[in-house]
């Protein structure tokens, strides 16, 4: 028999109490993991941004447009590699609950600018050839059962009317964190409509995406772009894609902070539950600790048994919690894909689960272990007699 065996046997001596504590930790770790994943998902766009991409928008606000003529001027700025542009279309699929992010894009450059969107060459060519073509991400295509060749109708909210598109491609993400819920169609198609209905809005774009030759040039290029259009009718603000995405996140920062606080509160609550379990356990075993001390076991041995038992219970719950986090995150991600296009459990979240469990295990055992170490044998034996 090894001391470790005694530790394991002690851990499961009170099966109901241990099971309930393990269940509590499992739920806490699951909740903590999901909440941390929500926070990660909030920043998914930031994490997926490229260091070589810049976004140029109207300096007043994103809802103000920029002239198409800026494209060539931007292209000529030293350090610029490529320029693309897009428009937020804001269409709704069938009803408003089916939110999909949809953009009118420059079909020729969009897949050069965003190499993380993987589209088979054949589908890409089909998309280029057809002005009414669209490309959708794998996740929304699966969600709505779209197949290549299907006609998809979006109801315009900014640009009124029913807009029919033919699905010519379904892209996949190159990375785990790539958003696979977007929907692209030809900017030309939208622009023709604008020319007919509201000519003053035609030949404009929502923003430009600019790639630079290397990330070190980003700030110089951004400054040069903004300088070029200074004192024009549409002054620009150019920032890195990451800063652009962070701008969106900062609008909802209070929610993110609230989620973070709740995730830590969950851990504090389970720490109290675990501490209660360990306090009860240690109090019941005072006599046994006295006997072990009588036999020659030192305070460190006893403390090791208490810490070990606490950690065994905590990590059993943690392992179950982590195991459940993945399917739960998958189900949660599917259900909330409209709001969280990327909902993956990050490795960092698992490290935080483990660190939180370690802290809970140690903190819960600290006071009982201290009492057991300080226990006088004669006092402990009196409790038995």
């Amino acid at each position: 028999m090894q001391i470790f065996k005694l530790l394991i046997k002690n851990s499961f001596r009170h099966k109901l109490r241990t099971s309930l504590t393990v269940l509590g930790i499992t739920i806490a770790i699951l909740a903590f993991g999901l909440l941390r994943t929500v926070v990660s998902a909030w920043y998914a766009g930031v994490e997926a941004s490229s260091a070589t991409r810049l976004v140029t928008r109207n300096s007043i606000s994103l809802i103000f447009f920029l002239p198409l003529s800026y494209r060539e001027k931007i292209r000529q700025i030293p350090g610029v590699k490529n320029v693309s542009y897009a428009y937020w279309f804001g269409g709704v699929y069938i009803s408003e609950k089916n939110f999909i992010p949809n953009f009118a894009v420059d079909a020729k450059t969009v897949f050069e600018m965003f190499p993380e969107f993987l589209l088979p060459e054949k589908q890409k060519n089909a998309f280029f050839r057809d002005r009414k073509a669209c490309v959708a991400g794998r996740k929304i295509a699966e969600k709505y059962g779209w197949k290549i060749g299907d006609t998809i109708t979006l109801k315009g909210t900014i640009f009124p009317g029913n807009w029919d598109f033919v699905l010519r491609g379904i892209y996949r993400g190159a990375y785990k964190g790539t958003d696979e819920t977007q929907f692209f169609f030809h900017w030309d198609y939208l622009n023709e409509y604008l020319k007919k209905t509201t000519p003053h809005r035609a030949d404009h774009v929502g923003w430009y995406t600019v790639t630079v030759k290397n990330p070190g040039l980003a700030s110089d290029v951004a400054a040069a772009i903004d300088k070029t259009f200074k004192n024009s009718l549409a002054e620009t603000v150019t920032e890195t894609e990451k800063a652009f995405q962070l701008g969106f996140v900062s609008m909802t920062e209070a929610i993110v902070i609230a989620v973070q606080i709740v995730s830590f509160v969950v851990i504090i609550i389970i720490m109290a539950v675990m501490a209660n379990t360990m306090a009860m356990t240690a109090r019941e075993r005072i006599g046994e600790y006295a006997i072990m001390k009588t036999l020659g076991f030192g305070g460190l041995h006893i403390a090791g048994l208490i810490f070990g038992e606490s950690l065994v219970i905590a990590f059993t719950g943690c392992a179950l919690g982590i195991a459940l986090t993945y399917p739960a995150a998958g189900a949660f991600g599917d259900a909330m894909s409209t709001y969280f296009p990327v909902f993956n459990v990050q490795r960092q979240t698992i490290y935080m689960d483990l660190a939180a469990t370690l802290i809970v295990g140690i903190a819960a055992a600290a006071f009982p272990a201290w009492r057991a170490v300080k226990l006088k044998i004669a006092d402990g034996l009196r409790r038995i007699g």
């Binding site: 046994e288 020659g296 030192g298 305070g299 034996l381 038995i384």
Partner: protein, 233 residues
Amino acid sequence: MEVKSPIVEIKNLFKTYRKGNQIIPVLQDITLDIAEGEFIALMGPSGSGKSTLLNLIAGIDKADRGVIRVGGLDITILSETELARWRSTNVGFIFQFYNLIPVLTAFENVELPLLLTGLSKKERKEHAETALDIVNLSDRMEHYPGQLSGGQQQRVAIARAIVTDPGILVADEPTGDLDRASARDILDLMERLVHELGKTIIMVTHDPRAAEKAHVIRHLDKGVLNADIQTAH
């Protein structure tokens, strides 16, 4: 009985307990020698200090004053850590309520003190089996305490006490929780340990029948050791 040199020498031992602001004397000026291989019974009414004296001899409590020399070593000057190490090899403990660990089998309970010795697994197994054989419980090795009778549990406790081969066994009311037949078996076993293995046994008891098995009976009253030395054999 052949008189041997004392294995336990106690000189002018004092012990008090503090209860609030009150200081309660428990042992007063105890001087006692216990010979090697002797079976001594300490008797006295409740609160007379006999268990306290036993604890002091076994190194699980600290005296206020005086000397306790065991095997020539003054244990009153040892630190807690040194005392723990000393106990693990020099003293075996037998308690009234057996005090076995309920989640360990008889074998594992007996093996427990050996975990501190650095013996190999094979050696520990041999020692534990031998100890259980001595107490006639070889066939109950895999039983848990809850599956054994009181007498059998006490025999497991005795096997645990002797497994490290200590010179001294201290027993606090070893028959106090047993029926008469089981108590007789335990006392016979303790007698065998003295005669066959040369152990020194210091036993605290209220039971005159148990005390009869001892070579010497000493009485404590209000913390004072009576001068009368009663020889049982």
